[in-house]
Structure formats: C-alpha cells, structure tokens
Symmetry: C2
Subunit: 133 residues, 2 copies
C-alpha cells in the first residue's frame, strides 16, 4: 500500500455527505440550495455585479442574494472584489474551486433541463394513477 | 440549418432553471434538496427498502423520506415496487432517467467532499478577517 492510497482512504473517511454531522453536507446545501446553485451557475459565465446577478437569478430577493453570496464567499467558492471607484463597484466571480464545483453543478442542471419532457410526462402518468384510486 | 439544430434551439428555449416559472426549477429542487439529493445518491448503489434508505440517509425523518420519495417518484426518477409478499415489501430503485440524474449529482457530491479541506480553510480565513473588522 502506498502513501497516496493511505491519503485517499483518509479523505474518504474524512468527509461524507451521508453522515449527519459532516461539514460537507452544509457546503453541499450552499451549492445546491435554491439560490446558491443558480448563483454559481450565473457566475460561471463570468464576473457580475450584484444587480446584474439579481437580474440573472430571476426571482431572488436582494436579501437572499446577499446571504447566498456571503455563504459562497465564506466557503471559498466566490470571490468578492470591491473596485476603488466612485461610486464603489463590487464584482463577484468564481474562485478556481468555485469553477470546479460549478462545472459539476451545470452538468446536473443541463441534465435536468434536458429531462423535463420525460419528467412532465411521468408526472401526468403519476397524477392520473393517483386520481383513479 | 438542419432540423435537428432547430429542435436543439427549441429545447434551449423550452426549459431554463434561471427562469422563475420554468418547471425545471422545481425538479432541480427535488433533485438537489437536502433529502432528495441524498436519496438519489443512496439508491444509485442499488434498490433499497424504506427502512434501509432511512438508515443510509442519516438524519432524515420517516415523514420527510416519504415526501421525498413521492416527489422523486412523481418526477419519474424513482420507481416504487410493491412485492406481493406477506408482510408486503416495498423496494425503491432509480429509473434509467433517475440514474442519469444521479450520476451528475454524485459527481457534484464527490467534488464537494473532495473540496472540503479547502472550504474549511477558506472559512477560517473569512471568519478571521470578519472578526478583525
């Protein structure tokens, strides 16, 4: 057994979203939460200012977007850059870690979007069966 | 422009999680919600009975797991199979569509688990800076 295998095993033991107390569960929730996911997805296309982000993430309130950005910044997924201009201008962009996570998230989002015809057909079948009971 | 390109364009217009009213947003929430994501991840390893699932998805209540399974079944991602045994036995398994979605979700989960050392270091830096202000 090599040292690198030992480290891999250690990593496997260290973080597991299936375990209630694992901190990875909280981060997964920041990433996949209603607004967190859309925020990461929007920033994958490039850096955006707060109001640009708010327009892109249709339906988010100012307060929720602000909380979402704080959580993602704290987790090291989003970088907040205050420009020394007058009036002050704040840009948000993904960190390299945020890009890695956003790539996987977007693959999931595109998979779900592409599956929606099947999902809606399944819902119709399900509701018809339930209604007939 | 070919017919297939036209169809691709139509698909792009049809479903967009960034649009508030798009039904794909609801399905994405079923897939990435706290319990939906863990349930899909657990079932990716094979079919499970209700109580097996409940043990695997550490911390979920009976009520929440039941609601989660109903939503995933309605979306056509999970198949519920009642065995004609006595006592009755109910197995849950992913549909082919559920497997495609779960694959992307697990790639995201593993990415987040693998990033946790960096995430926790980022949190320490963030909290130290905030505390010093």
């Amino acid at each position: 057994m090599t040292a690198s295998t030992d480290l891999d095993d250690l990593d496997d033991l260290a973080y597991d979203v299936f375990a209630k107390a694992c901190p990875s569960r909280g981060t997964l929730e920041h990433v996949t939460g209603r607004w967190g996911g859309l925020t990461l997805g929007a920033l994958y296309e490039g850096s955006l200012r707060f109001n640009e982000l708010r327009r892109r993430v249709d339906g988010v309130s100012e307060k929720m977007l602000s909380q979402t950005l704080h959580a993602l910044e704290r987790d090291g997924l989003v970088h907040r850059e205050a420009q020394p201009t007058n009036p002050p201008r704040v840009d948000y962009e993904l960190t390299p870690l945020g890009r890695r996570v956003a790539e996987r998230l977007l693959a999931l989002i595109h998979c779900v979007e592409g599956a929606m015809d099947d999902v809606l057909a399944a819902r119709e079948r399900y509701d018809a069966t339930r209604g007939a009971r």
